[in-house]
């Protein structure tokens, strides 16, 4: 099997698994317990917090553990929205291609009377700091913009956006779920006030994440109960998960340059190979993108059938077609960069892993080429494009 869906989730690293085991088998105490055995877990928790903070250039007390990226996004946005509202600020700036953890939270806030500006994304999958500067108003409570897009992998100019927000004194949150462990992050240097990450995207366990919030920000608790996480997140801490997260993040952060050096040439080889398929196009900027991300649209075919046939050839990938998203519309990300519906249905995301080689890439290119050719052969839409009854969107 070729697992080319590392943006969906990753295989856990041995380091992460080994970091977790003792906290399941041996030190299973509750960190809130007074006795020594519980305090062992508490010590582990605080050491994990310090190590995560170090990876981000943050301070330990600025780190809150959550159940994952979605919860961190929700908590960051709701906290800043409500804090802003207290000062009469009810405007939030974001982008049209955020993850649904952000977009759906913003939808909910709109119902509470917040006004949301979603910045248009350029056709290359990037937004600019200037767009943010132009959108900021007196009553802007928060700017929330993802670090790297989960579908098309484009990397936003986060440091520039951070500088703009700092200058205008507007809090800045970034969903760094796809970036953490893959790109260098320094929250202080980049003027990031809040940041979300999720362990399972960098070879850690599922169901555990982090919300970094700069000191001075008082988080609003979404889950009420005990006083864990300084009263900002109730519930007995997921100690094994947190230990796995910390170990995976440290390992990934120590490996960022190597990861980029190995994957970038493979990514570019894959892009070049798929570009040879006529009437196909890369989605998102070719260089301002995650080293692991390749995302293409192929005219005349539909993504779900493409995925099923790739699965038959042992390749795991994903698509932004309506059928695979379970909705009637294709991916909002592809629509946001201006892909027409009919082309967005024929999309394919391949997200590479560190274990891949040139041979893996050759295999993927051959398989995708075969499947696209076959599906076009039975597609009346493709026939219409070939015979000129319908117009091509892409150049050959």
């Amino acid at each position: 099997m070729i697992y080319a869906d590392n943006a969906a989730t990753t295989k856990m690293s041995k380091t992460a698994i080994e970091a977790m085991l003792p906290y399941m088998e041996e030190f299973y105490g509750n960190p809130s317990s007074l006795y020594e055995f519980g305090q062992k877990a508490k010590e582990a928790l605080e050491s994990a917090r310090a190590r995560v903070a170090a990876c981000l250039g943050a301070e330990p007390r600025e780190i809150t553990f959550t159940s994952g990226g979605s919860e961190a996004d929700n908590q960051a946005i709701i906290t800043m929205a409500h804090a802003g509202a207290k000062k009469g600020k009810k405007h939030i700036i974001s982008t049209a291609f955020e993850h649904h953890a952000v977009l759906h939270t913003l939808e909910k806030l709109k119902k509470e009377g917040f006004e949301v500006t979603l910045l248009d994304v350029h056709s290359n999958g990037l937004i600019t700091a200037q767009q943010v500067a132009d959108a900021i108003r007196e009553d802007t409570a928060l700017v929330t913009i993802m670090f790297a897009n989960n579908e098309i992998g484009t990397i936003q100019p986060i440091a520039e956006i951070g500088a703009v927000c700092r200058e205008k004194k507007v809090p800045f949150h970034t969903d760094a779920v796809q970036a953490a462990g893959h790109l260098h992050i320094d929250v202080k240097a980049m003027n990031i006030d809040m940041l979300s990450l999720s362990a399972h995207k960098f070879h850690g366990p599922k169901g555990v994440g982090v919300l970094y919030a700069k000191k001075g920000i008082l988080l609003e608790s979404l889950i009420n109960g005990g006083g864990q996480e300084r009263g900002k997140r109730a519930g007995t801490e997921n100690i094994p998960g947190i230990m796995g997260l910390a170990a995976a993040l440290e390992e990934a952060c120590g490996n960022i340059d190597h990861h980029a050096e190995t994957l970038t040439p493979l990514r570019d080889k894959l892009i070049a190979g798929l570009k040879k398929i006529p009437y196909s196009e890369l989605n998102g900027d070719a260089s301002q993108r995650l080293p692991s991300n390749v995302n293409f649209c192929f005219e005349g075919i539909e993504g779900e059938s493409l995925l099923l046939l790739l699965d038959d050839k042992g390749i795991c990938a994903s698509s932004g077609s309506a059928c695979t998203s379970g909705s009637l519309d294709p991916s909002h990300v592809l629509l946001s960069i201006g892909r027409p519906h009919e082309v967005a249905h024929g999309s394919l995301r391949l997200s590479l892993g560190d274990d891949m080689t040139e041979e893996t890439i050759d295999e993927i290119i051959a398989a995708v080429t075969d499947v696209v050719t076959y599906l076009r052969g039975i597609s009346p839409f493709w026939r219409d494009l070939v015979t000129g009854k319908r117009q091509h969107v892409f150049a050959e």
Partner: protein
């Protein structure tokens, strides 16, 4: 649990009757590229019988499987039988479809009926339009 039944996967992987009939005397196309599915049915009707049928489909796994199954169900059948084809029959023959994919079996039924209607139109055979569904453009993708 797999998304689709073994039957669906079989018809998706090895679609029956895929292709074009150059001298078809009834052709029906439904769906549109914006929605992500188009089905085109080619019929060769002789002596009020479906002598041959072929299809082309742009769409998801269940769209391809539904077209394949629908063509199997009508091939060699008298026209009157073919016109009785329902999307439920297609779905049942496929051992079921996920709820949000039932739409694919509807498209298959409609494509066949549209092709038969085309045959009647071409051959100047009178029919009751009420016997045919309204082949609406899909309304869910806007634009």
């Amino acid at each position: 649990m797999a998304l689709y039944s073994d039957k669906v996967m079989d018809h998706f992987r090895n679609p029956r009757n895929v292709g074009v009939i150059e001298d078809a005397n009834g052709v029906g196309e439904v769906g549109n590229p914006k929605c992500g599915d188009i089905m085109k049915i080619y019929l060769k009707i002789q002596d009020d019988t479906i002598a041959d049928v072929k299809f082309e489909t742009f769409g998801c796994g269940s769209a391809i499987a539904s077209s394949s199954m629908a063509t199997e169900l009508i091939k060699g059948q008298p026209l009157s039988e073919a016109l009785k084809l329902t999307n439920q029959a297609v779905t049942e023959a496929l051992d079921g479809l996920p709820a949000h994919k039932i739409h694919c079996s509807v498209l298959a039924e409609e494509a066949i009926k549209k092709a038969v209607k085309d045959y009647y139109d071409r051959s100047g055979i009178a029919y009751d339009p009420a016997d045919f569904p309204v082949f609406e453009d899909c309304d869910h993708c806007g634009e």
